[in-house]
């Protein structure tokens, strides 16, 4: 199973849990399993069209834009809240 790192801004939804094991062979399946475990993440991470525009996903340190991107069983998946700056 992949390990999903929950950013601080979303930890109120996971009850403070920082790492979640989620099953799936690609990003879409991993996110689906994550949302199955923590339903409150559904509206914060994805919408009807995929990953929300203010959220980015990285797999093993590399940002991904295609939900079909493969996820290895030992991969680390980061959910990144988009912030810009000044």
């Amino acid at each position: 199973m992949a390990t999903v790192i929950i950013p601080a801004v979303l930890r109120p939804v996971t009850g403070g849990v920082t790492k979640v094991d989620a099953a799936g062979s690609n990003v879409r399946e991993v996110i689906d399993d994550l949302v199955r475990q923590y339903g409150g993440l559904r509206d914060r991470v994805i919408d009807e069209n995929g990953v929300r525009p203010e959220v980015f996903i990285a797999v093993s340190g590399h940002e991904v834009f295609d939900l079909a991107t493969a996820v290895a069983p030992d991969a680390e998946v980061n959910i990144l809240p988009a912030i810009a700056g000044g």
């Binding site: 790192i5 950013p7 601080a8 801004v9 930890r11 109120p12 996971t14 009850g15 403070g16 920082t18 980015f56 990285a58 340190g61 940002e63 834009f65 980061n78 990144l80 809240p81 988009a82 912030i83 810009a84 700056g85 000044g86």
Partner: protein
Amino acid sequence: MVMADKPQYRVIGTRPLRPDAIDKVTGRAQYGADTRQSGMLRGYVLRSPHAHANIRSIDTSKALAYPGVKAVITAADFCLPGQTVADLPDLTTNILAGSKVYYHGQAVAAVAAISDEVAREAARLIDVDYEVLQPVLDVREAMLPGAPVLHEAMRTRTPEGPGAEPSNIVAHAVVVFGDPEAALADCDVVVEGDFSTRMVHQGYIEPQAATAMWNPDGQVTIWTAHQGSFPARQATATILNHPSSKIKVVLTEIGGGFGGKIAVYLEPVAAMLSKKTGHPVKLQMDRVDVFEGTGPTPGTSIRAKLGATKDGNFKVYMADMAYENGAYAGTAANYATMVATACYDIEHVRLDGYDVVVNKPRTQDYRAPSSPAAAFAMEQLVDQMAEKLNMDPEKLRLQNSSREGTRGSMGMPFARIGHEEIVQAALDSDHYNSPLEGPNRGRGTASGYWFNVGLRSSVNVTVQPDGTVALSVGSTDLSGTRTSLAMQLAETIGVDFEDVKAAVVDTDSVGYNDVTAGSRVTFGTGMATYEAGKNLIAAMKERLATTWNVPADDIQFEAGKFSSPDGSKSGTFKEIAQLVVGRGPGLTVSGSVNAGFLQGGGFAHHIVDVEVDPDTGKVQILRYTAIQDVGTAIHPAYVEGQLQGGAVQGIGWALNEEYFYDDNGRMLNSSFLDYRMPTTLDVPMIDTILVEVPNPLHPYGVRGVGEPPIVPPLAAIANAVAHATGVRQYQLPMSPRRILQTTGKIEE
């Protein structure tokens, strides 16, 4: 300093004259307030004299009856059927207050009239019945039980779930790595401090200005000096409940932003006044409006500890960080948890971030938002640790530096970064190796970090019949990005810089662009420009294939020259463009990217020498060097300017700037006479050292450069003052009064 792996470029790295220079220095450039439309009315915004009050009623009848007045609006004009002002979202009530005002200077009503003078006179006739409430202005006081509550519905978001009672604490974010409590007990040396910084303003030279025309067919045009035409369009559409596709935003030149022009203030108000009157309406702020009614950066309170072994290995960092959000919920403290430990490889970390509302303007971003205050704490503790361990602070930083593979505050491993290289550059610099002699003098150093981001960008490139190209950009040009983008296009298609003409175009004329912020335009829009360049070369090959009667895939393009497979035919880009476009149909291509969130990260490191007058408390900056990993410096003069500007703004933040309030929450220094920003008389030449560690995430190795240079100055100057006076500075600004208080010359 150029790293060995940097490629050689033809255009990138040169210093051409910026094409907007003459217009800007001769006054011909058109800024927000320069917009003039036929039949245009002038608007004026009435603002709250109170920091915290319920609005019982607003009577606009006298103002409406005033000769020359065409319309008066309040938040009620933005309500949908069945909605009341109490139901309006924060986005709307921050531009015109609903049932309550949360800060001195919050907009309450707006007037459109035949002249500015008439609008101002009429605004005085608007009768607002306030029920004045006790304000809360200090971030720690606002967190206490029993503090006046701004938003009755607000419940603190915590890892354990929402709080049970109304609170001013928006959220409590927690970041934990390792076992910080246990590791702290094992440390040989622990240093700690209770730090605070004050609310400061970006201080952009151009006050906000916006003009709107609402046509009877529902098409709306807005002219504005904003950091993002597309985000401004979307925010305005949301507030007006009007389709964004029916709103066209035209960007004017912009006189600075630094994050302060990301929010909309005037655009929806001008649009609503135009809708009501049938005329174009212009609104513009004065400096008082800007200070009191726009978004400064938060004041903070940070309690932090750093633990290390006796050999100087950082083991633990713990920080309790409270950030003012101003009147409405924000995420400033959450940002702080994402950057606080980025410069160092620390195994055990606990960060508690508290976002807190207070009766001050809704805060906005300001160059590397949240990072300078976090560094003010961290980098002073690093300096104290060096003192305790009797080590050179630069060598201590180098020993503990983040590098490729180090996990930052977000838990993500860094790609190739340059923090070690810039600290080493400091150690090798003339400044650091020059002795600082004389009484009351001290040297300080500090590091800083910002993510830098990519996000979404689009550009269009049109080939002209004479073989030159026009580059249409949708990103606001805050800092010379028309030039840095044109240089990247020239490099990609192999033409001279002078053969690329770049312009910022409106929202109907180019694909979507995210806001100009996060140092993302030269990076992200640069990637879109690179894509457009590649697409253009491919399109040219397709046309050339017909002319040369060879397969397009077999045509070579190298060093700015097309050539046929057998080498018998060839031509420069310009020559071929004159052939296939000058004698054929027009050619426009686009480039669109989502450059994502991760840009590779930007690190800065500063060295400063100060002299502190023991009698007056004045801190004089004697020498200043700003060092930064800039990836690839597309236009080195612009990059140096970013480093210098960031350093000077940081100097002001460190030494003099602060929002000063009376007990009723009224700002007392809302002018540049009383809000003390540095001038050329206050600072020496800021020397720069550009370290180029190419960013592997960009085709030309670009890193954003605008954010990081404001991060180190606060701590670097505090460290210098501590070394000059022997007294550690925990609170900003280090004004003469503060220096005299902390050195015991006058009472607190």
